[in-house]
């Protein structure tokens, strides 16, 4: 064994280190996990990040507020719409810009559609991590429909640059509104199917129930947010706690579970998709007529000197932007507080003691997007 497998140390011949990633099928990009293993049991785990660092925060310091618009959606490319519109809302609040009603409603519809598509992709890849290929392709089929819808209004399929300070680029078309309503009806049917295919499946249940339990005190220690937090039984959601945009006008529940294992995180996300559809349907029913851009938009976007913090609920949790302005057109500093980073840092405490196969499912269940962690 000694000459074949690199061992941890000369004294300790039973354990070994395993580098999982940065090139590995189920580390969702370029995460590297340094695992200390005894057989298949994990003794310690250390996530190593930074392989897709693109310096988005530094980029912000070298361009003006408008030019930073394409960046947020590339930070987390799976919920790009939420990030992009969130950034617009942050700056609008900072400079005191009013957004027309119609634009607000369209923003909500697009945000929630994006949330569903992000959860769908997570659902598919999570099942792929567990070895089920077919649900993955069903999810992509559904996600494709959402991408088509968002393409119809924003002109891009993944990294949207749809929001502008004071409104939106394009108005929605009737095609989009009808398509969205149609999608909601069809997707409810699909959710029932997923329930039979996956949720009820005994193999899936055995692999997720009781696996990767996060103790509630971790939430405070690491700042866990989003579905991972709600699976711990804490009903925290930025949309409800500090409503931004017009989220206070909609009726929706915040799904929670209590066991905080992979299965609960799965159920929370499934329930969230249903709630998102509820919001979309309400917004579609109430959508007013009117312009989509504010009338008077200042030529120079320059928030007054000071510090601003604005948060939105992305598909992965609490996404915050901390903006320091020196009164000029170019931000002094923009810090992005991304949810996956906090959620991933719990892995060091959650993974030890589990099996290698569980590592994959736990890592999948917290829904990380690596470029968003590295930024």
């Amino acid at each position: 064994m000694a000459e074949l497998i690199q061992i941890a140390s000369d004294e300790d011949r039973d354990t070994f280190y395993l580098n999982m990633g940065p090139q590995h099928p189920s580390t969702h990009g370029v995460l590297r996990l340094r695992l200390h293993l005894k057989g298949e049991r994990i003794l310690s785990a250390e996530p190593i990040i930074g392989y897709s660092h693109r310096a988005h925060e530094k980029m912000a310091e070298n361009r003006n507020y408008i030019q930073f618009l394409p960046n947020p959606s590339r930070v987390d490319y799976l919920s790009g719409m939420i990030y992009s519109i969130g950034y617009c809302q942050a700056i609008e609040k900072a400079i005191g810009l009013e957004v027309p009603e119609r634009a607000e409603y369209i923003r909500v519809i697009c945000n929630e559609l994006n949330r569903i598509s992000s959860h769908l992709l997570w659902f598919g890849t999570f099942l792929l991590d567990l070895g089920g290929v077919t649900p993955f392709l069903y999810c992509f089929d559904d996600r494709e429909k959402i991408l088509d819808l968002l393409d119809l209004v924003s002109g891009s399929r993944l990294t949207y640059c749809y929001g502008r300070f004071g409104g939106l680029v394009n108005d929605v078309t009737d095609d989009f509104l009808e398509g969205t309503a149609r999608f909601c009806t069809a997707f409810r049917e699909r959710l029932r199917e997923y329930d039979r295919l996956v949720t009820q499946n005994v193999i899936f249940r055995n692999r997720t129930i009781g696996v990767g339990v996060m103790r509630p005190e971790l939430a405070q220690q690491f700042g866990i947010t989003g579905p991972c937090l709600r699976a711990m039984g804490m009903a925290r959601d930025v949309r409800r706690d500090e409503p931004y945009g017009i989220y206070d006008r909609f009726e929706f529940d915040i799904p929670t579970r209590t066991a905080s294992d992979c299965f609960d995180r799965y159920l929370v996300r499934i329930a969230e998709m249903e709630q998102s559809m509820r919001i979309v349907e309400q917004a579609l029913a109430k959508l007013p007529d009117g312009p989509i851009m504010a009338k008077k938009i200042p030529r120079k976007i320059a928030p007054a000197k000071g510090e601003y913090y604005f948060a939105v609920e992305s598909a992965r949790g609490h996404f915050g932007m901390f903006i320091v302005s020196d009164g000029s057109e170019i931000p002094y500093r923009i810090h992005l507080r991304t949810p996956s980073f906090a959620n991933l840092s719990t892995m060091r405490t959650v993974l030890p003691g589990t099996l290698l196969a569980d590592t994959v499912s736990i890592l999948g269940s917290i829904d990380i997007v690596l470029p968003e962690i590295d930024r």
């Binding site: 361009r63 408008i66 030019q67 930073f68 618009l69 394409p70 960046n71 590339r74 077919t134 069903y138 089929d141 494709e144 088509d148 393409d151 119809l152 209004v153 924003s154 002109g155 891009s156 990294t159 640059c161 502008r164 680029v169 394009n170 199917e193 039979r196 295919l197 996956v198 009820q200 499946n201 005994v202 193999i203 249940r205």
Partner: protein, 183 residues
Amino acid sequence: MGRIKEIAKGARSLIGSMGVTLKHLKDEPVTVEYPAERAPISPLQRNAIRLIEKEETPGSHNCIACLQCEKICPSNCISITGYRPEGLAMKRPETFDLNFALCSECGLCLDVCPTATLGYTKVYDKAGYTRADFFHDLLEEYRETEEQVVEHLREADRRKKAEREAKRKAEAEAKAKEAGDAQ
């Protein structure tokens, strides 16, 4: 006994799952066989930018080389040089290059264009072997007709100027007349 019940329940759930995949076995595939057939693209789809041809005068565009798009572009992928032809009020672009390899399709250049002369091409699957394949010369299709267009614009400018002068003259005359009448 509880164990047997559990196994039976598990087996039933597995059969339920198999029912779902079996149901889809007879469904129509959703695949679009890409090179042979293409899915319809959104009318707003963002791609490389182009200069929109003016409807009233074919072979011409409206760009005035104001450099607004070059300034706003976050990726610095647009480079324009302008010149002012003899006897023309507005500038014209001499070169208008797009380095599409850098473009992030944010659409900010379209927002700022004062003459609304920028639009998107419909080619979304261009591939190339070198970086040079992604340098777009936006003026390519307009180069031949540029002289004619400038001549045309000059004509228009002259006409406008003449009109303006005639108007001014008329106004001055009217004023003079008024003044004369008043006296």
